[in-house]
Symmetry: C2
Subunit: 125 residues, 2 copies
DNA sequence: GTTGTCTTCAACCACATGGTTGAGGAGATG
DNA sequence: CATCTCCTCAACCATGTGGTTGAAGACAAC
């Protein structure tokens, strides 16, 4: 998997177990044992998932005796939403421009100037 | 990788080449060849990336002679943003409540009733 | 100091992923 | 028909990922 942060964050959330852990951590911090409890896998497997989440920046760990409380770092979400929203916006603007174009073609069709375009050619759905 | 759609979408975007393709497709549709041109990998590799994007629902392909124009399906972005925003909101509300709690503790400290909490115990950063 | 609890490290395994090359399908064009 | 272009399929390879078990580190508690 690529090394840049955005890739690590997307990859970290591309696993249902890790997404569920993040969902639970949004409500409250938790220890590794608490996090592992609901799932039918070893604690070591959860420890590995946490390592992935930590390396993506989604999660941080402190220390409390033998325990390692896990805390969600929600700011990292911004990285993703900024990326997504940027291209969603571009795609939507482009779609809007296409709407304008189709509307203009409709006008031409209704108006004097002879247009050769048919409903068919424009791909009526 | 897990089979559910959200996992597939996150996984699809966890690769810089695929993210770049999505970014370019936000501006305009493109053929496989056009998409492959900027990258230093084989066309077959790009074809594989497109398969991943298509199976995640981020992209659709039509047909134009031998060409297979690729189109971005931006609605899928909503799946992700909804997931992200839900837990970001929960985490923020929780943070806000913590702020309230700390403010209330400050009040108690300043007011009559003897509280045992010290600045230390609350973990002043 | 020994024991017990929480967690991680290491080695291993099965399988997915991203890349390669080579062959071939689908269609336009000579 | 022959050929060229655009694209995908198949086989292969190296590496990454998610899981396992066993050992061990860090700390509390007896």
């Amino acid at each position: 998997m690529a090394a840049d942060e955005l890739s690590r964050v997307f990859a970290a959330l591309a696993d249902p177990t890790r997404r569920d852990m993040v969902a639970r951590l949004a409500r409250r911090d938790a220890t590794v044992g608490e996090l592992a409890e609901p799932y039918d896998v070893s604690v070591q497997a959860i420890s590995k998932h946490l390592k992935v989440l930590e390396e993506s920046g989604l999660v941080s760990r402190s220390r409390d005796a033998q325990r390692r409380p896990v805390h969600l770092e929600a700011e990292v979400f911004d990285l993703m939403t900024k990326w997504i929203e940027r291209y969603r916006r571009e795609a939507e603007e482009r779609f809007r421009r296409l709407d304008d174009l189709l509307a203009r073609l409709d006008d031409e069709e209704a108006a004097p100037g002879g247009t050769r375009r048919t409903e068919q050619e424009r791909g009526a759905s």
